[in-house]
Symmetry: none
Subunit: 214 residues, 4 copies
DNA sequence: CATGAATGAGAATTCATTCAT
DNA sequence: AATGAATGAATTCTCATTCAT
């Protein structure tokens, strides 16, 4: 009966893998707009078009569910970056590509970003700390190899601090991007590239960084 | 009645203003270590050494209380920055002073910083968004005046983006600082100054920014 | 269909009676270790190696299932006793055989005993009350016929009380036995026989204990 | 207003100690008639004429509450026995008094007995196991001293078994008593005394029953 | 001023039970 | 015959908030 109504998909008796993704989608949306604590399992189940016990059966407790969201979105984010970065490129090109990947993800998955950045941060130390640390380390590594390619020395602490600064700057702009749906992710990437690569002084003097490709 | 019983110490009937500060101190500590939702009014009252009804009588609901915390700490933070910045200084000097003020506050008020940054973010739209926007605007204004002093034009959006980047970078490093009590705030300020003022390229080439004063 | 796929073992399509016994075995084990309420239908189905709907199809609701367990174990227990008692034996011999049968069952079916005694007791008025009453009546009858064989009178209430005492004593020792797998059931039977028979004999002979005071 | 209605006691704002006893009374009644698992905190709160949060505030979780019930009733039971037993009396007199104390408690606190015996048994190992063991040990000690007063030897295991039998018999009769409000506790005590003492006396005198066959 | 006593409302979680395939 | 998918209905427990003293 229901199935015969055109345009209204039957939501019944789907295989587990499909349902799990639906649930995760719903959970990401709800966590994104409410935050971890304000989100209720009831609302998530509703949003997924399913009853609460199914959520528990498939994805466990609220904590488990949240972790699963963070993991999925975190993995996607990492992949968005890793997919476009190639080790043998010059440092600025790598940074540029990394930023485009990053802002591209944020623009395309605003809810996922909100869960990762706004929600996961404040609470219990989910794997997010790990994820962020990993990103920071990747960036730090990138900087280090760039430095070494110039036969220079740099204190590790300084590199790490720069990486933190860079990641924080990216997050901050991503946050603004997530709240401005009309904004262009690539443009955000370019702006941050200029700021971080050239520095405020250069910017103030009107200098601009230009992508060598594309 | 009770107070008149000899040998029984009179309960301190402190003036309202003092009590309120005690409560806010307690609330900031508790919100800082638990987060908004995990913090219970019971724990806050306990920490303040008073009974719950007093908290409600003086500071209103939990939301009100949290807002009061954010306001007080936010104001202090702004003051830490404003106090050291003078409009007629060159841009780099202003930035340098602003960063020192900022990291100084974070180092001295780790709990306050945690409430402002980690907790207030995730949830309800408290005045924090406002506070952050105000800081961003201050920084953007600083950049604009610097640009204009060079008789140049710059698109407002670009300036804003740079301000966001700068604030985000500062927050990120502040966050790291809050978790490393042994770290030196001034050193953090210097690192970020280098990064943001000179840019990654300059840094990679070994250039360094030097404070003209102090 | 599935069964016709070569190389894929045919799922055992066991006859209903066999399946039911498997389920009851599993249920007795689970009820024994968890108690009625803590036992979940999931765990029982798991233990039986079948899916839940089968349990419902064959044995009905959880209550039904529990009743079925109690019935089966209760019947076995009664049979263990009845099988060895013969009406024409002297009273002490009957009691001795009855106790041996009883403790023999407990030693051999610890799970069954636990279900009967520990679990069924606390809750709903299953047939257990009936079972116990039946046992008490059997014992009371045994005592009565012994008395009458001595041409004596005894108040029915006193006989019933003695039967209760005897059954309670047996249960108490059985309980201890169920927790001590190394203990010898026959030895327990002999101990209780000594305790109860020497008393019962005096009673049967009309002797009475009198309080020295009051 | 409410307080002025005669015959309708005001149930409001009682001191903690009073409320706790009311709650325990209610809990014992509900646990007694429903069993641990079937009893809901809602029903207990209702029965106590109070809201659930108060129960949690004063007595903790459902487990804690149950433990508190068992403790209170167990203590009362022990006191009922200890109060009337005096070490320097002859063994039979001690046993007689102990039984009267025991059955007196059961007759006067049927609900308490039900909680102790029927409910606490089946579930988690609350202190009840301890309580019962303690009682068994007391009885065993009583028997041992009686034996030794006759300069005889007895194997400890046999004494323990007799104690178990005695306690089990008492519980069994108590159970019957709890279901027959019109019955006289003292009469039950006398019946069990007869049954057990006449047996115990023979035992104490070294008599043994021997199986005629096997 | 100050507080112990009290609660309404809602949250997570579980479980017996049934459908649709 | 057999099962994975699905849920209604409880249940325990917590918390912000308010009286009555």
């Amino acid at each position: 009966m229901l199935a015969s109504v055109p345009g209204r998909p039957t939501f019944k008796r789907l295989p587990r893998a499909v349902r799990e993704q639906q649930m995760l989608d719903a959970a990401v949306r709800v966590f994104s707009r409410r935050g971890f604590h304000e989100a209720s399992m009831d609302e998530i189940a509703d949003e997924a078009g399913i009853s609460k016990p199914m959520v528990y059966a498939y994805l466990g407790s609220k904590d488990d569910l949240f972790r699963a969201c963070v993991n999925r979105e975190g993995t996607r984010l990492l992949e968005s970056i890793v997919a476009v970065v190639a080790d043998d490129l010059p440092a600025d090109e790598q940074l540029w590509r990394g930023l485009r990947g990053f802002f591209g993800f944020v623009g395309a998955h605003r809810d996922g970003w909100a869960v990762l950045y706004r929600q996961a941060r404040s609470g219990q130390p989910y794997d997010l700390a790990t994820l962020r640390t990993r990103i920071v380390e990747v960036v730090a590594g990138m900087l280090r190899s760039a430095v070494e390619s110039q036969s220079r020395q740099a204190r590790d602490e300084d590199l790490t601090a720069s990486a933190y600064a860079l990641v924080g700057a990216a997050e901050s702009i991503a946050d603004w991007l997530a709240d401005h749906p009309e904004a262009d992710p690539d443009r955000s990437a370019a702006r941050l590239m200029n700021f971080s690569w050239l520095g405020a002084r250069q910017l103030l003097q009107g200098e601009l960084w230009q992508p060598s490709s594309a």
